[in-house]
Symmetry: C2
Subunit: 419 residues, 2 copies
């Protein structure tokens, strides 16, 4: 496994100008989205660039939940700019867009689908050298500052997919908890659910020695290698932080300790799942957000229907872990205990329901919508949701239990209502 | 913090030829020491290079516990070879020698002292690009495959010092537990003590926000930044493995599980202390091994007196942690508990003695020499040992409690006899 360089602390994002100077950068691309462009996290970074005499161009056209065409727009900007370094200030959408811009500007003759995950794209390995990218996360969920993954909606197929390569991992992540003090409570909750599922899925993913295929050449091995002794450490540690701090971080924007800890947990879980991978909650989340009809999440200032990523991931978690607990029930029970369940009298064969009940209670306490039905889905949508999940083999094959189409239908069905 | 890429598993060292091919290497330097040069770990790597058509030159002149002149010899070899990649197969001595060879061959006009830690050397930051270095550890102690540190005896001053820069960290560590099955029990024990002290020292080091100086430019900050929330995770986890597996690994060479776990613990502790740093046990160990008179460790096949690094580190640990426990007694008590002490009735003010007693028992159980006296030192040597410790400020300043010369004298005095 590998981990990018991260630096943590209140105010570290002020150092970005010095870091760029140390890298010898002279022509920098600063990316963000329109919501953030006037806010302190971007202002702090701009001030640091100016103070350190770093020339930069500003791109604030990142789409929240990006698409192939929004990626393309950023790529065009990057190609024209001929930048020698990138800075992404924002959530997963911004960091992922910036990774794609850096990749395709560094590989200008590639077709967009060349690097997109198979079977939707060609999944070619990245062999071109990329420019340094400094990621400054402003949400506490994606962990994108530590991963080599960039996710987007592929509009033709109405499905989420992405690019996965160690080569696109940021050179440096500046994890500045001060940025999280501006987040609305719903954003903190939904981002936190992403951390929760990164930790739970990577900890319960198929172990690295049971994954197939096992390419003999290391370069051909996927970024998502299955659970392993190193990713386990990160997953469990992130989960403990979520259990202790997420509710506090959601309920009180001034709880600096809780919001700081969640910002760190996001990176920890990112390091874990960036090596181990995720599985069914993420695999099934892509059509849930991709097929959205009219649902617009509260507190998200966007001009299009939107199911926030963390929400789309967590709503299936009770059903998913009930299904997967047949394999590795001890791990499922262990995570339930970390999340607060009293497992002293639990039977090992009840690990799935015990974890599911714990998750339902956790979500209820945090005022989460009551299942997929509350997002506008009905049983009639299930075939389309299943169809959107099938191409997500890169993650769904890491589930500890194989799934038939009938299994997936049943999981969506069971996720329509939670409480 | 940053962590290099590591790959763990039985047989991963066979993949080194493919890794070099993937890196485009055409002219490789393979380094090891004479004890290992005919043994399976080197043979496996050579076979992989041949099988993948990688041209290489073989250097087996690494000195166990290297010196400036043994470093120099390897550097000359590297300069003449104009290599495009390096492979180090061995313990810390080999990996550290290879790091130095790569550094100075990449910076041919530098004087040797330019990159050596101040105050002995100039401690210049490394700005030249280095060649890829793949480290294949064969002992379970140093964690050198994960760190940017190369330690050697500076013969003029009869003292250990080193080079510390993120730039010399290996590109890839191949952690193959099969290699550890050949180790004599004393080598397993002494290497394990290095892991033990890496974990204990990095966990009790001054926290990163209390360290001084605090350079405002990130590039000027030391590799050893003080204990922090990320290094803590690695330290505690490595300590748990040491507590559970070290005795088994020493006592039974066929206990594959125990030896595998210790091989992983070595890397984990390396990731931890490579970011946080070590303090007094390591700072005081350098003169202990540097001033050695006639002691030759059992099972080490060398033609010169030798105190193995892990032994020189661990013998002062009961005295050191008794001294440091005034600061952060909770952490000292926590580590005692991990190492098997019953702390339920311990008073917090007794944290130091409790940890010291636990360590003494641990060492006694593993047949460790009874203190510095057993290595041939007497009270008359203490002034020289103190004098040899004073230049080790880079680490001793990370101790949670500052030390006067009198304090250091008392620590050496208290370490003359353990049981």
């Amino acid at each position: 496994m590998a981990v990018s360089h991260i630096r943590y602390g209140a105010g570290v994002s002020k150092e970005v100008g010095m870091d760029l100077q140390n890298m010898g950068a002279k022509n920098v691309c600063l990316m963000t989205d329109k919501n953030l462009s006037q806010l302190p996290p971007v202002q702090v970074v701009m001030d640091s660039l100016v103070k350190n005499d770093i020339d930069f161009k500003f791109y604030d056209n990142v789409r929240v939940e990006p698409t192939d065409s929004s990626f393309m727009d950023a790529i065009e900007f990057a190609k024209k700019g001929a930048f020698d370094a990138y800075v992404a200030v924002g959530g997963g959408s911004t960091m992922d867009t910036c990774k794609a811009a850096n990749l395709y500007a560094s590989s200008p003759h590639s077709d967009f689908l060349d690097y997109v995950n198979a079977p939707i794209g060609k999944g070619q390995p990245v062999t071109v050298p990329l420019k340094p990218l400094i990621a400054v996360p402003t949400t506490s969920g994606t962990g994108s500052e530590t991963t080599g993954i960039a996710v987007f909606d592929y509009q033709n197929l109405k499905v989420k997919t992405g690019i996965a390569s160690r080569a696109i991992r940021p050179t440096l992540g500046l994890i500045d908890p001060l940025h999280t003090l501006y987040l609305p409570d719903r954003v903190v909750a939904n981002s936190g659910f992403d951390v929760l599922c990164h930790a739970l899925e990577s900890y319960t993913a198929l172990p690295y020695h049971m994954r197939s295929p096992c390419p003999s050449n290391p370069i051909a091995r996927p970024a998502y290698q299955g659970s392993n002794p190193i990713s386990d450490i990160w997953a469990v540690h992130a989960l403990r932080i979520v259990a202790k701090y997420l509710k506090r971080a959601v309920r009180n924007p001034d709880d600096v300790e809780a919001r700081s800890q969640m910002h760190l947990a996001s990176a920890f879980a990112g390091i874990g799942f960036g090596n181990a991978g995720v599985h069914l909650c993420h695999g099934m989340s892509y059509p849930i957000s991709g097929l959205v009809k009219t649902y617009k999440a509260k507190a998200y200032n966007v001009d299009h229907p939107l199911v926030p990523h963390g929400l789309s991931v967590v709503l299936t978690s009770p059903a998913v872990f009930t299904f997967t607990a047949q394999m590795f029930p001890e791990r499922h029970l262990e995570t339930a205990e970390i999340l607060g369940a009293d497992v002293r009298t639990a039977r090992i064969q009840d690990a799935g329901p015990v974890l599911a009940d714990t998750l339902r209670k956790f979500l209820f306490d945090l005022d989460v919508d009551d299942g997929l039905a509350a997002l506008g889905y009905s049983p009639a949508d299930i075939p389309a949701l299943v169809k959107g999940t099938l191409p997500q083999e890169r993650v769904t094959k890491l589930a500890p239990r194989p799934q038939s189409e009938e299994d997936l239908s049943a999981l969506f069905e069971a996720s329509m209502k939670l409480y």
